[in-house]
Subunit: 317 residues, 2 copies
């Protein structure tokens, strides 16, 4: 990961070629049709590789129940990244005041109260409250996706504030969950290598907040709980995490009450594919014109580069 000159240069190339479109806010972009076709192709590949395991498929909106964010421990570990959704609930007088702030160019949202929702920090967070209670024999396996939010404005195009994670999430006994983690640690490297990316796996830790966070990070490393799959994106020298395999022990099942037996919390793990980061790694590796990517890569992604009717006939006007 880098937010250096190489990051800025890659971002500017993506903007010039219209692969991404600037919103004026660092880390927030529109995506071109070509970008999205690659994202769709990665999703199909992830589906294919996990289908035989029979996951329960769920897709989530980009916001979650505020109380679930609180219960997850996210605000303890990552308060600086969380997004809270606030809204106006006043009458005519308060609205007049809001409009006055706008008219004179002042911030208009300071006084807005929180709603019942917050921005989803990772695609698997909504799963744990859904799985609360006793797991069936053999545990559960979910295939999930959602837009996620992290408040970390950056010039590095691989560090977006709003991005998608596709995840498989396993809940079960420690043995089952470790086996899942080990399987996907291998499988994800194989998949990403097959797309022509120079990947390597490495032990990692999350960016926990504050002094206590440094201890949490050290403990996470000591217990080998987080592995990242890294690849070059903006900078061939400084690698970026494009996928990760995370073993949560009973942290999340304890918070939401997920059990394998009476008084026995389940263990949980997830493998997460960063859809924007993998897409950017592919653009970095194979160039900004998807048509010119290696046929083998396009074949795996199922991206059809046959010319579609793109002429601007403007039959509407």
């Amino acid at each position: 990961m880098t937010s250096t000159a190489a990051g800025i240069a890659f971002r500017d190339r993506l903007l010039e070629h219209g692969v991404l479109v600037s919103s004026g806010v660092p880390g927030l972009y529109g995506r071109s049709g070509a970008f999205e076709e690659v994202v769709d192709g990665i999703e199909r590949y992830v589906t294919r590789m996990g289908r035989a395991d029979g996951p329960e498929v769920l897709r989530f909106p980009p916001i979650l129940n505020r109380s679930h964010m609180a219960r997850s421990g996210y605000l303890n570990s990552f308060p600086q990244l969380a997004g809270s959704v606030h809204s106006f609930d006043g009458g005519a007088a308060e609205h007049k005041e809001l409009m006055h702030h706008l008219d004179v160019g002042e911030e208009w949202a300071d006084a807005l109260p929180p709603t019942d929702v917050a921005l989803t920090p990772a695609a698997c967070y909504p799963v744990y409250p859904i799985a609360a209670g006793m797991l069936p024999e053999g545990g559960r396996l979910f295939d999930v996706m959602s837009y996620c939010f992290r408040h970390e404005p950056s010039t590095d195009p691989a560090r977006m504030q709003s991005f998608r994670q596709r995840e498989y999430v396993r809940l079960g006994t420690p043995d089952d969950v470790r086996a899942f983690r080990d399987l996907w640690l291998e499988r994800s490297q194989m998949m990403l290598s097959s797309l022509g990316l120079q990947v390597k796996a490495d032990l990692a830790n999350d960016a926990f907040f504050g002094k206590r966070g440094r201890m949490l990070a050290a403990s996470q490393r000591d217990q080998s709980l987080k592995f990242e799959i890294l690849a070059p994106v903006a900078d061939a020298e400084a690698l970026t995490a494009i996928a990760s395999c995370n073993y949560h022990l009973d942290h999340l099942s304890g918070a939401f009450g997920v059990y394998t037996a009476p008084n026995e919390f389940a263990h949980t793990a997830c493998v997460g594919f960063g859809l924007e980061r993998i897409t950017l790694a592919l653009f970095a590796a194979h160039g900004l014109c998807v048509d010119e990517w290696p046929a083998e890569v396009l074949g795996i992604l199922g991206v059809d580069t046959a010319p579609a009717p793109q002429e601007r006939t403007m039959s509407v006007s």
Copy 2:
């Protein structure tokens, strides 16, 4: 639209069949794999029907530049629906206080300052700043999609807080833009009828805020600026808007500086397809098992109901 007994009954059937999954917050749901396959099918149909017009394809994340929301006039017209994103920017002492609020079960977000972003209210909002400046000859046409947020918690499954809009957006001369609106008013009814929905088009108005809002709504109707395509969803008697055609005159191009000639603001219009609402209308019309829908409807959507390998082999454990 209804948030009556019929709405609650339909929501409960969707939850029982696992088509939607409760988050505990009204209007916020997980979506099943089957639900998403229908959404994907609707998107493919919308793509097919608009492709010959040669749109520029963009996809947006669920948040937008806060200053663009302010400039759009949305907070003037719909402050009660807007979502503002706030985040923690304190140090160790403020974090301790935040954790104390959490520990004693108090609201933790009251003091969080606004970030540079807000939740996207409609899929076309990010387009206008991108198109700012002089339009090319013939104007521009965009194909956009994003998750949208509206703060209106409801028991009616068709009134979600977080939902997707797919839109075509036309920017150009008044004649071009009116022709676009008229074309899609016909085309969208034909498309939705072909999916077996009992649709009708009707003049409509937005839910503008407050006393001034009632005048805006009346003026919008007087000028025939908004048409909705309605269909039965929860309630066969009370119809729900599943798509709309909106003519903005120069409201948005004026706010963002989009011109067809020097000192001549462009006009703009959009057709929006409510992807969740159309999907729910299809579930209401054809039943909760997608496999059993009419072959013609499945054919148009391109949904393949051949049995996929769904057995729970659990090769991972």
